[in-house]
């Protein structure tokens, strides 16, 4: 236990310490195991992150978001292949939704990433959202950190949909690609939901389908009015299935990274992310601790009933929990 990091985290068990060592030495199975520890929110997972954190910060974290079926996985596949040509190593985290009813999930993003399995320099991990309200962004970010520590040059995070969760997950990325398609009626919706604001690169995928040009024109109009002096968001068209437009997309991603590096924005992004991470963890820990307090035994239910029956207001109820 040497590191200056990891002070507040739990001690690493011998088994996990061994995994961390092997991960740093390039063992892919150990990498997969550590990701599970982190994903399962185990003490070992937190401790492993504590050890690994000092090895992070090198990878370029790229988020791909957009409506269901927009072609995110196909794009991630094409991007990974192009980045490999540029001699970069790749980690991919592909997130699919957990069913709120059964808590199960089908993780199907690999179907579009078949070719990547042959290359030991590409590591693909599927992840279910596990109904983590607000915690998903932190978890995705942690898994990306593990891949970063394992030495991946680029870590791609694929998320689904166009809601608040996605905006949050994208915040774990340095460069966010928003994918739209001429086929999806969800484009206007995406614009409303604030997805456009988080886009560093906009992609009109499925450009082989009719309507791509008019969508691009629409986006162009929307971004010019929204950018207000900021550098304009590049809008690219791709046909992910045929790998058309991928060189340009890869260039745009690289350029974005260089730009934020030069302008100092990368640094401020990092500060912002660090602050958010600490505060999110603090919030979570405090909540867990408050709810675990022995004095709470049963009293939460009583307070809940009290508020529901209007004997008590929620502010007073919460204050009582803290006071106890």
């Amino acid at each position: 236990m040497t590191a200056a990091t990891g002070n507040g985290a739990e001690a690493l068990s011998d088994g996990a310490a061994d995994l961390v060592e092997r991960l740093l030495a390039g063992d892919r199975r150990a990498l997969a195991r550590v990701i599970s520890l982190v994903e399962n929110r185990t003490g070992d997972g937190r401790a492993a992150l504590g050890q690994l954190y000092q090895h992070t910060g090198k990878a370029h974290i790229v988020g791909i978001t957009g409506g269901s079926g927009a072609g995110k996985s196909t794009l991630a596949n094409a991007l990974a292949l192009e980045l490999r040509k540029r001699d970069r190593t790749i980690g991919i985290v592909a997130v699919d939704p957990t069913s709120p009813f059964t808590h199960g999930a089908i993780l199907g993003d690999r179907i579009r990433m078949q070719e990547l399995a042959k290359d030991p320099q590409i590591f693909v991990r599927s992840m279910a959202t596990r109904g983590e309200i607000g915690g998903l962004a932190a978890m995705t970010s942690d898994v990306a950190s593990v891949l970063d520590a394992a030495g991946k040059d680029v870590v791609i995070i694929e998320t689904v949909g166009a809601g608040q969760d996605e905006v949050e997950i994208a915040s774990a990325a340095e460069t966010t690609i928003v994918v739209l398609t001429p086929a999806g009626g969800d484009d206007v919706q995406a614009m409303k939901a604030g997805i456009m604001e988080i886009a560093d690169v906009l992609v009109v995928n499925k450009a082989d389908l009719p309507g791509a040009d008019s969508l691009k024109a629409l986006l162009l109009a929307a971004t010019t009015s929204a950018s207000r002096g900021r550098l304009e968001t590049p809008i690219l068209t791709t046909v992910a299935t045929k790998r058309e437009g991928i060189t340009e997309l890869t260039d745009a991603i690289d350029e974005h990274r260089q730009r934020i590096e030069r302008s100092g924005e990368r640094e401020s992004l990092r500060l912002e992310r660090a602050r958010r991470q600490i505060l999110a963890l603090l919030r979570q820990r405090l909540l867990e601790e408050a709810l675990r307090a022995p004095s709470l035994d049963g009293s939460l239910e009583e307070l809940v009933r009290g508020v529901a029956e209007r004997r008590l207001d929620p502010y007073t109820a919460a204050a009582r929990l803290i006071a106890d």
């Binding site: 996990a16 892919r28 599970s36 520890l37 070992d44 999930a105 690999r110 078949q114 399995a117």
Partner: protein
């Protein structure tokens, strides 16, 4: 949030066999039973399947095959797993599809714990996975790092 960790399963179709209904039925049934199911799609080489099992850190690997090529492909999957340090007895390896009676002993010998054939009830399949996982977790409850190095 550290209730029960979901069981992670890989469902894969080796070879050129395009019959994917059964694999999808099983994947969905396991999903509905609360498991996280990585589905890789059709036309997987043994190496791709083993690589997915490694990267996804699954505890269950299920192969689906209706083409008749199991006798050739299944040993190669087992070998590819082993090459990556995954022994058949560390995970639940099982399969389903069109597999004649005569072939089953050899597959069991290889490490396949059960073979489910046409008409198999998804409930039985779910229970089989659950039972195995429960036993496994009982055994491995000593430390957080199941299996060790």
């Amino acid at each position: 949030m550290t209730d029960e960790q979901p069981i992670r399963v890989l469902i894969a179709k080796p070879g050129l066999d395009g019959h994917d209904r059964g694999a999808k039925v099983v994947a969905r049934a396991l999903r509905d039973a609360g498991m996280e199911v990585v589905y890789t799609g059709i036309r997987q080489t043994p190496e791709m399947i083993a690589e997915a099992a490694l990267q996804e850190d699954v505890e269950v690997v299920g192969l689906s095959i209706l083409s008749g090529a199991h006798a050739e492909l299944f040993p190669r999957v087992v070998a590819a797993l082993k090459e990556r340090g995954i022994n058949a007895d560390e995970i639940l390896l099982f399969a389903g599809g069109i597999i004649p009676d005569d072939d089953i002993p050899a597959l069991k010998e290889l490490g396949f714990q059960e073979i489910f054939r046409p008409g198999a009830s998804t409930q039985d399949i779910i229970e089989f996975v659950r039972d195995w996982s429960a036993k496994q977790r009982d055994n491995g409850a000593k430390g957080e790092v199941a299996g060790g190095p």
